[in-house]
Symmetry: C2
Subunit: 303 residues, 2 copies
Amino acid sequence: MKRILIHEVGPRDGLQMEKQVVPLEIKEGWIRGVMDAGVDLVQVGSFVHPEKVPQMADTDELFRRLTAGKTGSTVLSGLVLNEKGLERGLQCGVEMFCLGASASETHSRKNTGIGTEEATRRIIGAAKQAVAAGKKVQVSVQSAFGCGFEGPIPEDRVLGMVRAYLEAGLTNISLADTAGHADPAQVERLFGAVFALDPAVECTCHFHNTYGLGMANIFAALRAGVTTLETSFAGLGGCPFTKVAAGNVATEDLVHALHRQGLRPDVRLDGLLGVARSVAEHFGRDLPGHVYRTGPITTKEAS
Amino acid sequence: MKRILIHEVGPRDGLQMEKQVVPLEIKEGWIRGVMDAGVDLVQVGSFVHPEKVPQMADTDELFRRLTAGKTGSTVLSGLVLNEKGLERGLQCGVEMFCLGASASETHSRKNTGIGTEEATRRIIGAAKQAVAAGKKVQVSVQSAFGCGFEGPIPEDRVLGMVRAYLEAGLTNISLADTAGHADPAQVERLFGAVFALDPAVECTCHFHNTYGLGMANIFAALRAGVTTLETSFAGLGGCPFTKVAAGNVATEDLVHALHRQGLRPDVRLDGLLGVARSVAEHFGRDLPGHVYRTGPITTKEAS
């Protein structure tokens, strides 16, 4: 089995959904906690207009702080939706650019103001620039499994976008279930079709738990050969421009589950639980994650 | 693919965990709602000592009311832990007896006052009596995937109990994850081992969502060939005598997911959502289910 990588997207996908803007120092503490726990990738923030998503206004400054004198192997990623974002990211130390376009025409227009085709073309252009600048790049298809506005998304449309990415030499590809519509059979089928296009593609999955299927979909993705899993501390998350938004699978719940199966024992669960508890405490409410509340399963304990 | 059956256990596993005793008329309304929705089996209650579990004191009366002039094909089941319970169940119209013993010595003693071996022997005796009385019977191994008190449970011990059930001619067998310790790989492995003992066995699964893996485990069980799925309205549930108790997968979330995959379109989701909303309203708090809060995915909707 190929090595599974964990991509923490809480600082971006989680915090963009919260009404309150989290102070930079607190965000920085959470991100450093995740890095210290040995998570492979952390999405520090997105480069969007600060008036549109004020929660992400400090992304540039966060990158500058986190990359200064950085040690450890965690890769710091940033989400970019257009050329302007790429420019900002190149200036502040982004290590991996995550760029995406939505397979839903309606979601694409709400999120970026342009349609799927134009967004895909522009994303590919920006991704090539990032590659040319020596950066790691992940390209994604958002709303790949369905859309709250449009309903089912034709698989051909998703595969067409994947094909365009592959033809541009972009082989790190994410399918994102922005609306939470995916089911396990669909996940295996669609990722299977992606691997049929190119068996060497590196696939990432990103599931929202809107209807309770997030974790089941992750295990279906693993079965299909997906190697990078995007999750969020304490299960925070959701796209502000989708119809029914809900959290991601909690990173610490996923790591706890992987540990049960003997996978990624090197990732430190206690560190992740500490971050999740701190996030829940900060927001002052119960968040979707399970294990930060129950504590992990212990192998043997006194009654 | 074999037909998947849904066994609603909310009236028993869900309500036994709630501090407040739900009035009989309200329970009856919820159960009738589930029956009207076309769910295959409903666990009306358990036959335990009313002082030990006062929430279940009205089980006999509920059975009498629900079986009087009953129409529709839903099978009404009752949980029995000993001979006394069987006697009560035979007198009030139970259609299917669910009997179980725990693979965890500690959990067995806390739940029933006797150890695994004696409990298994007594359960088999009672199950045979129920069969002789012309009743449907399901026998279960509780704590089959791990125990909050004892930690991992040897798979050989679980399979030994299954073998004893099979040798007694009991072929409707449930593995219950009382503590929520199961992971998808373990689920496939253990049910696979059960089917290896007897490919004709009818298997049921029962997962608690303590650590966030309930739905993923159900899909793993389906893959292994399990055909009956036990879930609870709005995701209520938990055994009062386990260490860290948490809810089941929500019945309406499961049916919503099955519908996404084209399975069991005959079960009426709207009816189940009505029950789940009524349960949540009654308890006055958010319950674990997702779809009763978000509403189902609609195929096509206006933005």
